[in-house]
Structure formats: C-alpha cells, structure tokens
C-alpha cells in the first residue's frame, strides 16, 4: 500500500488501513494520516446503514470479484490485502499473492498486519530479498495485477501518495512512493482502490507519485511503461474504467443505492459517465460471511506483559511459529 500497497502503495496504507478496520475508533486513528482520508471516516460511521453491509465492504467485495483464479497479484496492506485474501478464500483459490516484502505465494489464514507479517513468509512458496522482488518479479513483468490506493487521484488515474500542499512545506506529508510507481508501471494491469470524495478525486494532483495514463493517450508508451496501466478504479460509490480513446476515467457502475449525483458531487472534475451505467451486484451473503470471517480470524498473540523475553523457549520450534502464549512478550520501546 502501500497499496501496497500498500503496501504497495503508500498512502494507500493510510487510506486503506482506515478502510480495513471496521470500527470507528480505529478508523479514526488511521485517517489522520491523510487529509484525504478524513472525509472517509465520516462515511465509515454510516456503517451498515439499511443495506446490511458497509460501503467499504461493497468496495472490497467488488475488488475481490475483479481477481480471477490463477492471477498473480502484487498486494499492498489494507483494503487491497483484504480484497486479495477474500478472492483467494472464495472464488480464486489458486491466486498467487505476492507482497513487496519478498513473499511469493503467501497463503495467510488471517489478514496480515503488515506487508512483512511473519505469516506471509511462513506460508509462502518462496521468500526473496526486496531488491529481488522488485527486479526479477515486478520489473521483469511477472505480475498480472497490482493493487494501488492513493490520497489523490486525477482523471487520468495518476496517483499521489507523497504530499498534500507544497512539497517543501507540505500541509500533509504522506508516506511517499513505496513500491507504487513501479507497480503502476510494470504490472500487466492495475486496480486502484480509493474512496471517492472531492478531496481524493482532484482536478490537479499535488504530486504525481505513480503514473496512470499521464496526460492522456500515448503517455505510457512515451514513458516506456510496459503494463497496460489502470483498468479499474473501484470506490465506495462505484466503478470507473478508462476510456480506451481518451484514457479518461468513466463511471461505468454505481453500487446499490448510490446516485449518479452523489458520484458527481464526490468528483473534483466533470465526471464522464458511461451511456449505460449498471448497478454493481450487492455483496452476497457468502461474500460477506467470508469477508467478515477473515477479518475476525485470530491474529498472532500480542500481549502487554512485562515479563522478560524468553527466546530459548522457541528454539525447538522449527516452523518459525511460536504457539500462542509460550513466549511472553516484553514490551520494549
């Protein structure tokens, strides 16, 4: 996030983390990262509403559906990781999850806490170094789908995860590039997950961290970017796709209950709308059940005990996993 990106992508982490965490309190905490995400917090509080699912759940489910079985997916933490894991636990069991920490073919049973979560390494087909994951695997064109988030997106799906305001005296310093620019450049296609608000969907990015379609047709080729670029922008309101001729984002789907006016109001430029706007199928009970189970799956132990660490207790463990409770955690600063 960063969007992985979160991991991959950067702000994505911020934005995505907020999305990832269902409760209002935690959302509140993470949102501070990006002003862009601030508005989203309010949205999150409308949780469930009358629909039986939240806008973020709709967004995550829509993203998961976009992933076909067998897809090799570069995953960032937060919403992209949730979507990818939901897909792998439902219709796409042979999907290959690649995290920028170097874990290839990770098969986590619970949602990872970060792109470098130990469970990713423990369940991976292969663990490689960070230089290798970017050079041999991403740069060489071995990744089908990259997921990105952002604090800002423009009409050509370029992304900002660097600063809001002036670069030298930013009003908000965001995490930065992370893996995002090369994910945007080199994956065969890119799916962007971002909440749709006037603060995220902007006329002019404060900083172009990752390239979607640049200033329009021909720019990706001119820059030597080998992937196709963004194919889907999935928001909490609907789904946008680039127009093949102009490379400008066009609204093609609205989520159930979302009006066209709401989507227009949430967009900082004159939103292009498809002739036929369809309605995204609502999350099915199965999808919601799997998604919520994933989120509720037990994570690794994390205690606040002040007992001293006992590394030797773990020496007989060959899997790298320490059973819950065997090693008291000492909270060191």
């Amino acid at each position: 996030m960063t969007t992985h990106t979160d991991q991959a992508a950067a702000t994505a982490t911020a934005t995505a983390t907020a999305m990832d965490q269902g409760t209002v309190a935690r959302t509140d905490q993470a949102t501070a990262t990006a002003t862009a995400a601030a508005a989203a917090a309010a949205m999150d509080q409308t949780a469930l509403g009358g629909a039986g699912y939240t806008p973020d759940e709709m967004m995550t489910v829509a993203a998961a559906r976009a992933l076909r079985d067998g897809t090799v997916c570069f995953v960032g933490i937060g919403a992209p990781s949730v979507a990818a894991n939901l897909a792998r636990h439902s219709h796409a069991p042979t999907m290959v999850l690649v995290y920028e920490s170097g874990t290839i073919g990770a098969k986590p049973t619970a949602l990872p806490l970060s792109i470098g979560d130990g469970e990713l390494a423990d369940t991976a087909d292969s663990v490689v170094s960070v230089p290798e994951i970017f050079a041999y695997w991403l740069q060489a064109g071995r990744i089908d789908v990259g997921f990105l988030g952002a604090a800002q997106i423009d009409r050509h799906a370029n992304l900002n995860t660097t600063v809001i305001g002036d670069y030298d005296r930013p009003s908000t310093r965001l995490p930065g590039a992370g893996g995002a620019p090369e994910i945007a450049a080199s994956c065969r296609q890119v799916i962007i997950l971002v909440r749709q608000t006037p603060r995220t969907f902007v006329q002019q990015l404060a900083f172009r961290t990752s390239v979607g379609f640049g200033d329009g047709p021909g720019d990706r080729e001119r820059f030597g970017l080998r992937g196709r670029g963004p194919t889907l922008v999935i928001t909490d309101l609907g789904i946008l796709r680039p127009d093949p001729a102009t490379c400008e984002l066009v609204l093609t789907e609205l989520h159930p209950g979302v009006t066209l006016a709401a989507a227009r109001d949430a967009t900082g430029w004159e939103l292009q709308v498809a002739d036929q706007v369809t309605t995204t199928p609502a999350p099915t009970p199965d999808e919601l059940r799997t998604l919520r189970a994933l989120k509720a799956a037990p994570r690794r132990p994390s205690t606040t005990s002040t007992a001293p660490a006992a590394p030797r207790a773990a020496r007989h463990i060959t899997t790298g996993q320490v059973p819950r409770g065997t090693v008291p955690d000492r909270r060191r600063p």
């Binding site: 960063t2 950067a10 982490t13 911020a14 983390t17 905490q29 501070a32 933490i77 920028e100 920490s101 170097g102 806490l113 792109i115 470098g116 979560d117 130990g118 990713l120 423990d122 663990v127 170094s129 960070v130 230089p131 970017f134 050079a135 740069q139 660097t162 005296r169 930013p170 310093r173 995490p175 930065g176 590039a177 992370g178 893996g179 995002a180 620019p181 450049a185 900083f207 172009r208 961290t209 390239v211 640049g214 990706r220 820059f223 030597g224 970017l225 994570r299 690794r300 994390s302 205690t303 606040t304 660490a309 590394p311 030797r312 790298g320 320490v322 090693v327 909270r331 060191r332 600063p333």
Partner: protein, 276 residues
C-alpha cells in the same frame, strides 16, 4: 578480520559518529530497535539516516534530534497510519529541520545493490513520468549502450555504518537471519562498517532454508541483544507487538507525550548488557 562480539553500548560508541550516514535496515521484520535506542542514548547528532521504511525506529530517532537528513522510500507506521515525528519534522521542522531525499522502494533497493556491488550506479525501469524526477537529485537517466533504451539510473549508496538485527551469531561472529530478510545483506555489504545485534549466540549456526549468512569478516561488531527487534518481530523468537504499533500512534502524536515517553522508556533504560 572477524567481528568482535561486544556490548551494544561499546559497538555504537565504536562505530557511529556524529555526522555519519547510517542505515538501520530490516523490512518490517528484524528491525534493529535496540540499536536505534542506543544511538539515541549516546546522543548522536546530524546523522544522515537511510532506510526504505523509516518506521517507528526512525520516528524515534528523528523526534529525538539525531538526524538532519533522511533518505527513504516509504515513511509510515506500517498497517497503522502516519509517523507523527517524521511528519512533524518535515511539516514544521521540529525538533530540527529534516532534509529529505526520497525514492521508490525499487530505486533505494537498487542504490544499496550498487553500493554492495562496488558499482557507481544502478540501472532500473523506474520513475518515468513521475514528479520524483526533478525533485530527487539522485534520480537520473542513462541510455542503454546496446538497445538505445532510456532507463533510470540511481547512484550507489555507501553508508558509513549499516546496523541490522539477526536471529543468531556463532562465537566467531558469523551471522544468520531468516524469514523476510529485506535489504539487510545489501545494506551491510554497501556500508563501510557494520553492526549486527542478535537474539542469541550459538555454538554452531544451523543453516536455515532461505537463510542469509553474513560471514564474520564482513561484520565489524556483533552485540547480543535478546528482544532487540521489539516491537517488530524476530521469526522463531517473538511476534510483532501490534498493540504497540497502534499505541505509538497516540504516543507520538503529541510532542510532550513523545518526549516524556522517550525519557521514561529509552533514556532511562540501562544499556543492554552483552553476554556472549
């Protein structure tokens, strides 16, 4: 030459000087937190800090005034949100102005690779069309002499000191780490000097699948610091203390609370003893 096994206090005093370029590496796993704390306790100043993911360790070092410059690629609290001390330094110059030089992960990883390889620069497909070009002086282009293709070039990075945390060393100072090993090998080989903190010293290193072994003769100092990566994790030893990452968001948000917390938990803490 082989690595001397010393206390962390001695190792930092011997290797890290004011004004040095210092890289503490560890990609969400095996983050050398205890070494960062020792650098804070020894009040090093004017450091140029290099790290892909500044994380909590650099948030603390920046907030305590150790750094005047930061070379990085992603500055967030992984899985949680912002690094507030990093942001405060950039947005408001507190406690001191912080010059930043930012890359993507691929770019900075390649800078280490070039440093470790004894090359002046690295070549990669990156950055084109982004505003990082022109903003970060250490991003340039190079034309392939064989195909004529234009590619990104980034200069080698050669830190004065690399600091990493590993699971084990043997009594000769050979080091092994396993699990996610990030860019630590490249950082150590790129640096002029290196310090490795370890969970424990063993009689014989038992080679692990996917493990990275750094022979003793490329390491200057080894210090035994059990739990030295907390609150990050050390595969096979302990898990990430995720509650702390979330708590850090609250502690670090406020300057006074941060300063008090560091005084209580880092400055007042006794240096970790070495018991090789």
């Amino acid at each position: 030459m082989s690595a001397a096994i010393t206390s962390l206090q001695e190792a930092v005093a011997d290797l890290v000087s004011d004004g040095d370029c210092v890289a503490l590496e560890g990609f969400t796993h095996l983050i050398p937190m205890a070494a960062g704390h020792e650098i804070i306790r020894q009040q090093r100043r004017d450091l140029a800090l290099v790290r892909l993911t500044p994380d909590l360790v650099y948030d603390q070092m920046i907030g305590m005034g150790c750094a005047s410059r930061l070379v990085f690629s992603w500055g967030g609290n992984p899985g949680v949100g912002s690094l507030h001390r990093f942001r405060d330094a950039i947005e408001h110059g507190w406690p001191a102005p912080l010059a930043v030089e930012e890359h993507s992960h691929a770019g900075l990883a390649n800078r280490y690779v070039a440093g470790a390889s004894g090359l002046p620069f690295a070549v990669l497909r990156a950055y084109r069309g982004t505003d990082l070009v022109g903003r970060t002086a250490s991003i340039a282009t190079v034309t392939c002499p064989f195909t004529g293709e234009e590619l990104a070039a980034v200069p080698a990075i050669r830190p004065d000191v690399a600091v990493i945390h590993a699971q084990q060393a043997d009594r000769q100072g050979n080091v092994q780490m396993w699990g996610i090993t990030g860019v630590q090998k490249e950082a150590v080989l790129a640096a002029q000097r290196s310090l490795v903190t370890v969970e424990e010293v063993v009689d014989t290193l038992e080679l692990r699948p996917g493990g990275v072994v750094l022979p003793s003769w490329v390491v200057n100092r080894v210090a035994v610091v059990p739990g030295g990566a907390r609150p990050s994790y050390a595969s096979g030893y302990y898990h990430r203390d995720n509650d702390f990452y979330e708590t850090w968001d609250t502690i670090s948000r406020d300057r006074d609370r941060f300063t008090q917390w560091m005084a209580d938990h880092v400055l007042a803490a006794s240096p970790v003893a070495s018991t090789p």
